[in-house]
Each structure stands twice: as C-alpha cells, then as structure tokens.
C-alpha cells in the first residue's frame, strides 16, 4: 500500500503544474465567489464552506480517472496485475496518496477562506477539512471506477460533466433538496454527494450539528468504499 502511495506522490511531485492547479484553482474560485456576491455576503457564508469541502471531490475525480486510465493504456496495470500486489493494496495506495494531496488542497483553501476571505462556520473548521478529505476519497474512488469505461483521455475527461455535474446539481447546493420534485429528490437521495453536501451544510450552520452529521459522514464514507469496491472489480488479473 505504501509502495503505491509513495510512487503516486512522487509522480505528483514531478508534475508541479498539476499540483499548482489542484491547489490554486479552488482558491481562485473561492475568491471569485466572495467577490461576485460582495453585495450579498450571506451567499458566500452559505456556499463558501460547501464549496471548500466539495472541491476536492472534483479535483481528485479528474486526476484519478486520468491517472488510472494511463495505467490501463500504458500496460503498467497489466504488469502490476502480474506481480504479487493485492488489488486492495493498489487501491489503498492510491487512496492514501490522493488523501495526502486533498489534505494539502484543503489546508490551502481553508487558510484563504477562513483567513483573508473571512468565512465563518458554526462548527469546527477542522470538520470541514476532514470532510474535504473524505470527499476527495469519494471522488478518487469514482474516478477510478469510471476510468474502466474510457478508452482515451478525452473520454475520461467527459466523465466530469457526465458523472460529477449532475451530482452537484442534485446535491442541494443550488436548490434545497426539500424543494425538489419528488423524482429528483429520489435521485438525489441515491447519490453520495448529497450526503457530503448535507454534512458540510450542517457544519457550516450555526448551532449544534449533532447526530445527522455523523450519519451523513457515514453515508459519504460508505459511498467511497462502495465506489472503491466497484473500482476493484474493474481491475482484472486476466483480460481477453
């Protein structure tokens, strides 16, 4: 597990531009969000924390789906599958490496949002960062899974609007889930990102966030584990 984590982190270190984008883009977006709603500061207070917590989901989804697709295309995956390396070790290594990257991202964006931008959350700030890492793992696991359905990097990138955008629209970030039509609400209930958003919204709000927060977090983590298991099923020792 650590072997793969070290390897993936070394690859990331060798690609400072990607690291700069992963850390810099959410900082820029957070800043823009604050500025475009400068007349209505309550909007930034409302969506600032969810954006901070959900952004790692998007970044890690894209990075992982392309990285894993490269492993599939270049033949390194076939080579790894011929070695005494458990599939779970490979996936856990990926998860560990991207959790570290997500932590870095969350730390930078938190520093900016809570510091210079004056974002306020009712719950502990560290809970927002912890959710950011959990969401990164969810994004990573989904990215890993969908990489099995892409043949080229162009296709892999298209999974961003196909898999990620609908989840964002239905998560409650734009329209409260309670106000959605019944069938939309039903779909929203089935998507893991809805629970990730709920957990973040609870931390952001003033007052106790209590038991439902734990339930939302548990569903998010289960979603990540489920996606990881689905991803593991796409790693084949024998191929046609």
């Amino acid at each position: 597990m650590t072997a793969t984590a070290i390897r993936v982190l070394t690859q990331l270190r060798r690609d400072p531009r990607t690291v700069a984008l992963v850390v810099g883009v959410p900082c820029l977006l957070e800043f823009l969000l604050k500025e475009i709603f400068s007349g209505r500061p309550e909007v930034f207070q409302h969506v600032g924390a969810p954006l901070l917590g959900l952004f790692p989901f998007v970044s890690m989804f894209v990075v992982t789906s392309v990285t894993m697709l490269r492993e599939r295309i270049s033949g390194t995956l076939e080579r790894l599958m011929s070695l005494p390396l458990a599939k779970l070790d490979l996936l856990a290594g990926y998860a560990l490496a991207f959790a570290v990257a997500a932590l870095l991202q969350a730390a930078a964006v938190s520093a900016l949002a809570f510091g210079a931008l004056g974002l306020h959350v009712g719950g502990p700030r560290v809970a927002v960062a912890a959710l950011a890492v959990a969401n990164a793992t969810l994004g990573m696991a989904l990215g890993l899974f969908v990489s099995a359905f892409a043949r080229t990097e162009f296709q892999a990138v298209q999974f961003l609007p196909a898999v990620v955008f609908p989840q964002f629209l239905l998560s409650g970030l734009f329209v409260a889930r309670g106000e959605m039509a019944r069938w939309l609400r039903a779909i929203s209930d089935a998507l893991p990102l809805s629970y990730a958003y709920d957990a973040l919204a609870r931390v952001a709000a003033d007052g106790p966030y209590g038991g439902w927060f734990a339930a939302d977090l548990a569903v998010t983590v289960c979603g990540a584990l489920l996606a990881l298991a689905a991803g593991a099923a796409t790693l084949r020792r024998r191929t046609p």
């Binding site: 650590t2 072997a3 033949g75 390194t76 076939e78 080579r79 070695l83 390396l85 024998r238």
Partner: protein, 263 residues
C-alpha cells in the same frame, strides 16, 4: 495435432553430446512450462489454436514468429494474464496465474510498462517494494541492463531502447525462476543486443528459465531451444542445430521458409 516437445528435444541433444547428469540443472526433470492444447480467442478470432509445447528449465528459449503469429498471446497465457478459451498452461508445476507464481514469474511486456514521469531508480524502487526486495537489488538490476549513468534520469527523457531496458530491469528484481520477455531487444544497437543476450545466458546458468520472443530470425541463433510460431500454431520446436538438420538449411530464415512450405 502432434505434441511438440522442445524440453525433451533439447535435453536429448545434450544427452548424446555429453554425459548430462553431471549438470545439476538437468536433474530437474520437470519442464518450466507445459502448455497443452491451448486455444485463445482475441478480438473474435483465434489467436492460438490448440497449441501444445514444453519449455526446458534453466535454458534460454526463443519464441519466434512473424508479427501477428500469436507470440504475445502465448506469453500472456503463460504469465496468467490472458483469458483462455480451452486447454491448460502449467508453470513451474502450478496452473498459470496462480497467486504463488506471481513472485516467481517475471513478465516484460512489449511496450515498456514503466512510469515515464519517474526516474529509472524510482521506477525500480516501486517494483522492488512490491516484490519486497532490497535496494541493493535495484542497483544490481540497473547495472545488469547497463543503465548506471542514467539511474537518476527521468524515464520520459530516455530513448525507446533505454526505456525497454528499464522495463527489463524490473523483471530482474527478486530473482524470478521464470522470465517471460516479449521482444526485449527490439530497437537496440547490435553491441547492446549481444550484451543483453549474454546476460540472459548468465541468468540461465544461475538456474533461471527464460522465454524470449522475437520476430528477428537472427536472434534465434542465440537461443538454446526454439519454438517457431505461425498463424497461432506451433510450426516446429527444437534446438537451432536440430532444426537446421531437419530442413537441410543453413540460415534460420530459410529453416522457417522450409517449414512453412512443407506445411
């Protein structure tokens, strides 16, 4: 389909020329690989059709045939990463692909299966960690493929031939008993090619079994035993000398032609 027996054939030759049983490697009677009636379907067509063969232990075995003859499919079947339609593949006494074999069999794919954004050493360290071998073996493997001066270069900046050697070096880690090498010397300069082939023979002298594919007939000369493959079937097996004698041809290219024309 007649059962071709490279292992036994090669051994018989040696038995007649020298008293074989002095050599400890020849006491191991079991073949490294036994393929029986193997059929593989790839992309809707038969890539291998009822292939049977043996591969002798402790020798450098060449798998030769034109591009598209099924060499890679056969090697993938032996490594255990190929889905089989029929037949069986026994490797070091166990069914191919058995988890216990993964540490004993090393596979070098035709396209270098390494990470271009890592250095040579970083690539090898990753594979060494998976195989749980120390860093001294990493240095040793780099030296064996003559890449010491590029050890800290990022693989993406190396030439195609150098990348192929990095990929080959990963297969030397952990002292595998069987090395399955898919066209490892393509695009290398003749001096390097000669040196790598002597490395292969050193490994075999240490007791390892090598199965090396090539589509270049002059490489056949460097093998202890040969398997000639054509259109998904075994054309012939034997030592280079045996095959020459059988076809009354001198160059192995002509041997191949004779065998094809003889049907």
């Amino acid at each position: 389909m007649p059962r071709s027996s490279l292992g036994r054939g090669a051994r018989k030759i040696r038995e007649t020329t020298e008293s074989v049983w002095d050599n400890p490697h020849d006491r191991v009677l079991m073949d490294a690989v036994v393929v029986h009636d193997l059929t593989v379907i790839r992309g809707g067509r038969r890539a291998l059709a009822g292939v049977s063969l043996d591969v002798a232990r402790g020798a450098v075995n060449g798998l030769l045939g034109p591009s598209g003859s099924g060499k890679t499919t056969l090697l993938r079947s032996i490594v255990g990463v190929q889905r089989l339609a029929a037949g069986s593949v026994l490797v070091l006494g166990e069914p191919a692909g058995t988890p216990a074999l993964r540490a004993r069999v090393a596979y070098v794919t035709q396209a270098p299966a390494i990470y271009p954004d890592l250095s040579v050493r970083e690539n090898l360290r990753y594979f060494a960690r998976i195989l749980r071998v120390g860093s001294s073996e990493v240095d040793d493997a780099i030296a064996r493929v003559f890449l010491e001066e590029f050890a800290d270069s990022v693989v993406g900046s190396l030439s195609g031939g150098q990348r192929a050697r990095v990929s080959l070096a990963t297969a030397l880690l952990g002292r595998p008993e069987l090395l399955v090498l898919d066209e490892p010397t393509v695009g290398l300069d003749p001096v390097l090619r000669r040196d790598l082939w002597s490395t292969f023979h050193e490994l075999a002298a240490d007791g390892a079994t090598l199965l090396v594919s090539s589509h270049v007939m002059d490489e056949a000369e460097r093998c202890d035993g040969l398997i000639l493959l054509r259109e998904g079937a075994v054309l012939a097996t034997g030592t280079p000398a045996e095959l020459r004698a059988r076809t009354h041809a001198e160059a192995l290219e002509d041997v191949f032609l004779h065998l094809v024309e003889a049907g």
